[in-house]
């Protein structure tokens, strides 16, 4: 089952879970995804060591989509 998680004060929170055939779950995941992007989060799919890709549409085939806050120089 694929997951959409957000890194937050709790460590991380699972916002949605879906499987390819479950239309209702996919719809809920897409809605949660868009809501978080509108709130200023960036969505990232990590594909192993050294590789990560920012996504602007929920990749339904991904196992894990991580939402992160913007970074800035300290």
């Amino acid at each position: 089952m694929a997951r959409l998680i957000r890194m937050d004060q709790a460590g991380h929170t699972t916002l949605a879970e879906w499987t390819a055939g479950d239309d209702a779950a996919v719809e809920a995941a897409v809605a949660a995804f868009r809501e978080q992007l509108d709130a200023g989060y960036y969505a990232v799919v990590s594909s192993g060591e050294g590789h990560a890709e920012q996504v602007r549409e929920l990749p339904l085939e991904a196992d894990l989509v991580i939402l992160r806050r913007p970074i800035a120089g300290g």
Binding site: E53, I71, A72
Partner: protein, 211 residues
């Protein structure tokens, strides 16, 4: 990690005036940093030499000048090491959850190194990175020079999540990550190593071995 078709880290838009950092710009910045350090040091050493030449009894004042010449580069190196010093912890449960997620993002070797040192090792095109909670060290190829970058996520998060934020951004776009980050120090790896907490030194040794 970064190339012509590679995506651009969105945070680079917040520092639009900075040219995108590549290997050549990084080398140039390193040379400028070294020249600046020399420019800070030479006047004190010259003053000490002049004082001794004019009046040997001025030795105490000359000694103070030499201490300044030694101290300024040391302060810069200390500032560099500080970028990866651990920050205050969150509660135990969030820390555990965040550490689990970060562990999932790391390979076996990097996970073990992070557990022992608090730094996540990541190989890039610019060199070998050690990612901490509020900064990162870049060990240049060859392992002799280290660039210390101050970069963080502005949110109240467990330490593992702070590191994971930086790690993911680095993996998205290495050059963009270095463009967004602020350079706190660039110089000899041995100078940074001396000023790192003892527990973190094995991570720098591992990164130097990889670089």
């Amino acid at each position: 990690m970064a190339g012509a078709a590679a995506p651009i880290l969105p945070e680079t838009a917040t520092v639009y005036w900075r040219p995108r950092l590549d290997a050549a710009r990084l080398r140039r910045r390193g040379r400028i940093w070294t020249l600046t350090t020399i420019a800070h040091t030479i006047p004190f050493l010259a003053t000490a030499a002049l004082l001794l030449a004019l009046e040997p009894l001025s030795f105490p004042v000359a000694a103070v000048a030499v201490v300044h010449a030694w101290g300024i580069p040391a302060l810069y190196a200390n500032r560099g090491a500080n970028v990866v010093r651990p920050r205050p912890r969150a509660a135990a449960a969030p820390e555990r959850v965040a550490a689990g997620l970060l562990g999932d993002l790391l390979g076996h070797e990097a996970r073990a190194l992070h557990a022992g040192t608090g730094l996540a090792l990541e190989c890039g095109r610019l060199g070998t990175w050690l990612v901490g909670e509020a900064g990162a060290l870049l060990v240049r190829p060859g392992g002799r020079r280290v660039d210390c970058w101050c970069v963080k996520v502005d949110a109240d998060l467990p330490s593992g999540d702070r590191t994971a934020h930086l790690l993911l951004a680095l993996r998205e776009d290495e050059q963009g990550f270095a463009t967004v980050a602020n350079l706190a120090f660039s110089g000899a790896a041995r100078r940074v190593r001396r000023r790192l907490p003892a527990a973190m030194r094995p991570a720098l040794d591992a990164a130097r071995a990889r670089a």
